[in-house]
């Protein structure tokens, strides 16, 4: 049996959790799900889930990593799955890593390919922030894995399950809630976040200054886009750190990414590799960004962006 750890957002499974269910179908055995909160069976039935185990302890909301890990650890001990599969989100990875430590089990995060090989699992996983892939073999029972959201798109199963729900009780003490989420503060930025934006306007070294970003912010406003920058931009203080796109910043997946004055270093590209289309504006025709872009303009962004905005304003004015 495989146990898939389902993350909930407002009572619904996250997109990543559905990806984890699809990844689980590549392994052998019936699929069970585990949630740390109430869920409707109908939301998981199309994905071939036989049974959902629900740990319904109100204290587990909001996110409480130590307590969540203990709950998952106890569930794994009780249900004895062969595999435990989770979405590779920061929270699920934290919970699985801690549950693995409690049980002395192996855990491989951010997997992109899975193949059962006898009593082991051959896997490929994302490493170095997306700039390299690692091939490895995971042994032991149970084996814990989390799967990269981009590698497994959520597809309903050809054989939907008649999903049933069952409560699972766990033992948690007050001390297990020591590191529970205390509050959520609103950031300075409003509107669509970089990670969720359908259109992103990004700036790099070529923008030249904090003031240089004013026109990119204006362009983003016209295109209903979010603004981001490369590492040099946030390190120079031209934009806040929260705007950084790349290995150590935001991972974006917009329909269109307009990269202005960005050379396209690998650390930046791993943050925008899931963009469906990249439009690159750069004065260096040999900049690596052009190798990854779908559309390219060679030239000075300080001339091109204002001219582009004039055209866009004319169109909008109609």
């Amino acid at each position: 049996m495989q146990l898939v750890y389902i993350e909930l957002k407002a009572g619904k499974p996250t997109e990543g959790s559905l990806s984890a269910l699809c990844a689980a179908r590549q392994l052998a055995g019936p699929i069970h799900a585990l949630t740390l909160g109430p869920i409707e069976a109908a939301s998981l039935a199309p994905y071939g889930v036989e049974k959902v185990w629900v740990v319904d302890d109100e204290r587990l909301r909001p996110f409480a990593p130590t307590a969540a890990a203990k709950a998952v650890h106890q569930a794994i001990q009780r249900l004895a799955p062969r595999w435990v599969v989770a979405p590779s989100s920061p929270e699920a990875n934290e919970v699985l890593a801690r549950a693995a430590a409690l049980g002395g089990w192996g855990f491989a995060s951010a997997c992109t390919q899975l193949a059962v090989d006898g009593d082991a699992l051959n896997l490929t996983r994302v490493t170095w922030g997306g700039s390299l892939f690692q091939e490895a073999q995971l042994k032991g029972t149970p084996a814990l894995i989390s799967v990269d959201l981009a590698a497994f798109s959520p597809q309903p199963s050809a054989a939907p399950g008649a999903t049933t729900l069952e409560n699972l009780s766990v033992t948690l003490s007050d001390g297990d809630f020591v590191d529970q989420l205390k509050a959520v503060e609103k950031g300075e930025k409003q509107g669509v976040s970089l990670a969720d934006a359908k259109v992103v306007v990004g700036g790099g070294r070529g923008v030249g200054s904090e003031e240089g970003f004013n026109m990119l912010v204006e362009l983003a406003g016209l295109l209903n886009a979010a603004v981001g920058g490369s590492r040099v931009v946030t390190n120079n203080g031209w934009r806040p750190h929260s705007d950084q796109i790349g290995q150590t910043g935001a991972q974006i997946a917009p329909d269109v990414y307009i990269a202005c004055g960005i050379s396209g270093a690998i650390q930046h590209m791993v943050g925008c590799k899931n963009s469906k289309n990249i439009i690159a504006i750069n004065k260096d025709p040999d900049a690596p960004i052009f190798q990854r872009a779908n559309y390219g303009v060679v030239g000075d962004l300080h001339e091109i962006i204002p001219a582009l905005m004039d055209e866009v304003k004319k169109l909008k004015g109609k």
């Binding site: 890990a69 430590a101 084996a143 020591v178 989420l181 289309n277 559309y295 390219g296 169109l315």
Partner: protein, 128 residues
Amino acid sequence: MREYQVGPRVATLLKAPCATGIKALRIQDGKAIAKRQEGNDWAVFELPLPAVITVKEGINKPRHPSLRGIMAAKRAPIARIPLEKPAPSMAHKALKLPQESQGQLTMLGEGKAAVPALVDALKALGVL
């Protein structure tokens, strides 16, 4: 190769509280106030000490070491602690580079003259 795991595993073994992916940190009244970015918002954790905290780039500006510091470090004694390594559950086999997803590049032109083509591309992509 153990991304996401070292901090939480160490915390679990030490029975210490833990917060990961932190981008803002201060100590106040004997507690660590740690913030993690989530979209436009900040998730705030308040941990008693000692705690394990994993941080992301951008939490501060790293100091460059002074020449004096570098020289002093050369003379610093290094303590070595022998460890028994448990058998690893994951065996590394190989590293490989991601396949270059060579975009089908369409050049729209040079300088301001490319703006009409750029507008057309934005229209075709549904941005305009």
